[in-house]
Every structure is written in C-alpha cells, then in structure tokens.
Point group: C2
Chain length 232, copies 2
C-alpha cells in the first residue's frame, strides 16, 4: 500500500476511535518524523481526510477533526444498499421480484436516439422485515451481456468489481418526489395513495462507459439522506 494511504488509514482509525476528540491532529512535521516521509506525503494523507470531511485545516493554527453525526443515511458517495445496510448494522434482506431483458426507459435522461438494451433486475429491500425500497437496475448488455446468477453475499457492485474486474468510477444521482405507482403499493404493502422518494442514478466505469441505470423507490416516511458539503 502507498505511504500516504497508510498514514491516512491510521488517522481515520484514530479519529473514529475518538483519539482526537476536540484536539488537534498531528502537524505535517509531526507526521514526517513519525512515519519518516517527506512533507508532501504527509500532506497528501491529510488532504484526503479534508476531502472526506474528516478534518479541517486552518493556516497558522493546525488541523482539526470535524465532528460528524455519521449515523444516518448518507448518499454522497457511490454505495450499494447492501454495503450501506452492513455499515449501519441493519437487519436486511432482499427479495428478487423479476430479472428479464428490457430496454432502458426514457426516464433516464437518455439523449440516446437508439434503444439501449439491458438486463432489468427488480428487487425489494427489507430493513427490519419491512419493505422499504424497490430497486430496479438496468445493467447494460453492452458491458455485461448476461447476468448468470445474482450473488447472495455480494452486492451487484462488488460482483462487477471483484468477479469481472470492472472498475466503477463515479455516479450521478437525482432525487425527486413522485406519486406512488400501483406496483409501489403492492410491493411495499402500502394501502393508501401517497408519494415515494425516487433516486435515479447512472453508474460509470473508469473507461467512461455507462455500466447501469438504477431507480430506487424509497418509502417516503423511511427516507433520510445525509450529506456533507464544503464551501467553495
């Protein structure tokens, strides 16, 4: 592993363990001595912390930990449902509703003139035995011609990355509020009319190709998104 990555990971571990609660993080020079690295290497590690929202640097003063309430539902990085449930220690299970070939609906900002072929996977996500989320993935056949089996212990992302050697780079997400569809009511066992929170995303590979489109329909009363934002 890289030197700055090691330093970064050490610091994150200590931050999460509360070692720097309300205190200053080691200065550039302190890290230089502790790890016997050049200053730029130490700075790179700290720059990552700042980037992730763990820390804040103030010129002339030092580097300080930013206290987070990281218990809620963060959506500001690419993370799958399963990874998320795992991290928050929620009891989760998934019900496969359907898996079939389909075209990507025009709902996904498609400037595409031609139809895009994909494998459509519809799943219902349960948290604490309540149906909370309907996930519908469109995995492009241009990238993954066929999905042989849905893994029990891996998320789709992890499957693609670990088994198929693909590298996921980034995603764009939009959040809107829409009226409940008939299928929403059925799958989430909601009797009355109402709304769902729809998170639509497009996931990209490192080579720029689109890997998949996903539509996540969340029960509105269970939805909470948390994010961290920096000024400028």
């Amino acid at each position: 592993m890289n030197k700055y990555q090691i330093i970064h990971d050490d610091l994150v571990k200590d931050i999460l363990a509360g070692k720097y609660h309300e205190k200053m993080l080691p200065s550039d020079y302190a890290l230089m001595n502790r790890y016997h690295v050049a200053r730029e290497t130490a700075r790179k590690a700290i720059a990552m912390l700042v980037d992730e929202g763990y820390a804040m640097r103030i010129k002339g003063k030092g580097t300080f930990v930013i206290q987070h309430n990281r218990y809620s539902f963060p959506i500001s990085h690419v993370e799958s449902y399963r990874e998320l449930a795992n991290r928050l220690h929620l009891k989760e299970h998934t019900q496969l509703v359907a898996i079939q070939d389909a075209e990507v609906p025009a709902t996904f900002d498609s400037k595409a003139e031609t139809v895009v072929l994909a494998t459509e996977i519809t799943r219902v996500r349960y948290l604490d035995d309540e149906p909370i989320i309907i996930d519908r993935d469109y995995v492009l056949k241009a990238v993954i011609p066929e999905i042989l089996a849905l893994p029990k212990s891996l998320s789709l992302f992890e499957l693609f990355e670990q088994q198929l050697g693909l590298t996921i780079s980034h995603a764009t997400k939009t959040i809107t509020i829409e009226a409940l569809s008939i299928q929403d009511k059925q799958l989430m066992k909601l009797p009355e009319a109402g709304v769902v929170v729809v998170v639509r995303s497009e996931t990209f590979l490192s080579d720029g190709r689109t890997l998949s489109y996903t539509e996540s329909r969340h029960r509105a009363d269970k939805f909470k998104s948390v994010e961290f934002a920096r000024r400028h």
Copy 2:
C-alpha cells in the same frame, strides 16, 4: 491568485465552453510547458477538477472530461438560494415573513443541554412567481448578536462573508419527507394535504463554531436534487 488556481479556472472555463468535448485534457507535461510551472503545480490544478467531478484521470491514458448534466438542482455543496437561482438564471424573489428572536428547536440534532439563542428569519422563496421554498434560518446570537438589516442584493452567506469577515467552512444536510404543516399550506398556497421535502442544515465557520441552522421546506413536486458521487 495562485498558479494552480489560474490553471484550474482556465480549464474549467474551457470545459464549460465545450472545448474538450469528448477529448483528452492537456497532460501534466503539456500544462508544464504551457504555463511554465512545475509538474506538481499542474497536477494540483487537475486534482481540483477531479475533485469537483469535472474530470477523470486514467493511469497511462490521460485525463478526460466527465460529461455532466448540470442544469438541475445541485445540493452537494454549500450554496445559498440566491446564488443558486442566479446560476440557473431563474426569476426569483423573496418575501420576508418574520424576523424575531427565538430558541433553536430541538429538531436540529441538538445534543445541546442548554437552550441556544438565535435570530429566526422566515422567508418564502418564489421561482417564476410561484412560492416554492420556505426558508427558516436560525442565526446564532453567539456568533451574530444582532442582524441589523437584510441585504437586498446579497445572500445571508455573502453578507456574513463579505461584510463581517466570517469564513464559512462546511455544512451538513439532511433531507427528509414530512407532512405539510398548516403554515406550509398558507405560505405556499397549497389547498390539499400532502408532503414537503425538508432540507435541514447546520453551517459551520472555519473556526469550528456553528453559524446557523436552516430548515428549507420545498414543494415536493418542484423539488429535484442532483449530485455527483465518486466511488471510494
């Protein structure tokens, strides 16, 4: 201005102008020659682009522009309503509903044992003459003892930064869906029952103090959030 900042701004301008549409951005060495700077300086400029989601670097290949649809409602950085409306060229105006002293409600994750005194500012935001957002700011009296006048041409953020010399560092945001309150119906002229999208945020200064809490209540049918997320 810094060298890497200049290079960065030049590149952003060119990207937005479409000069690198589907093409490779200048390599490290190309920027070195063009601007007569060291490689690390050029890399810093590009690192900023990557950080902002403008570009993607692939080892051995080059740096590539990420195509964005940046027309929607981005919430992934600290930006005020007015700055936003301006950027998207929307016709906007604001109606001041009330400004008074108040305590910060417990809704804002307050682990605070004592009451926190603040100036409460309630405003209704109109886009294209429709009331879309109710903003309620709680500006802490510990930081700003008194708000003398609400500026017509500046946002609250800009006022604090430019007039009072404060530096805003970051914010945390949560998005939830809640039932319409009576005041929601009145101020947004909504006759029926329904839901609003509530964005609650806490804004921090560079010295770590909390500057303000804000509750933004958005008309659900007009709400759209767009964000960019990177994997790992």
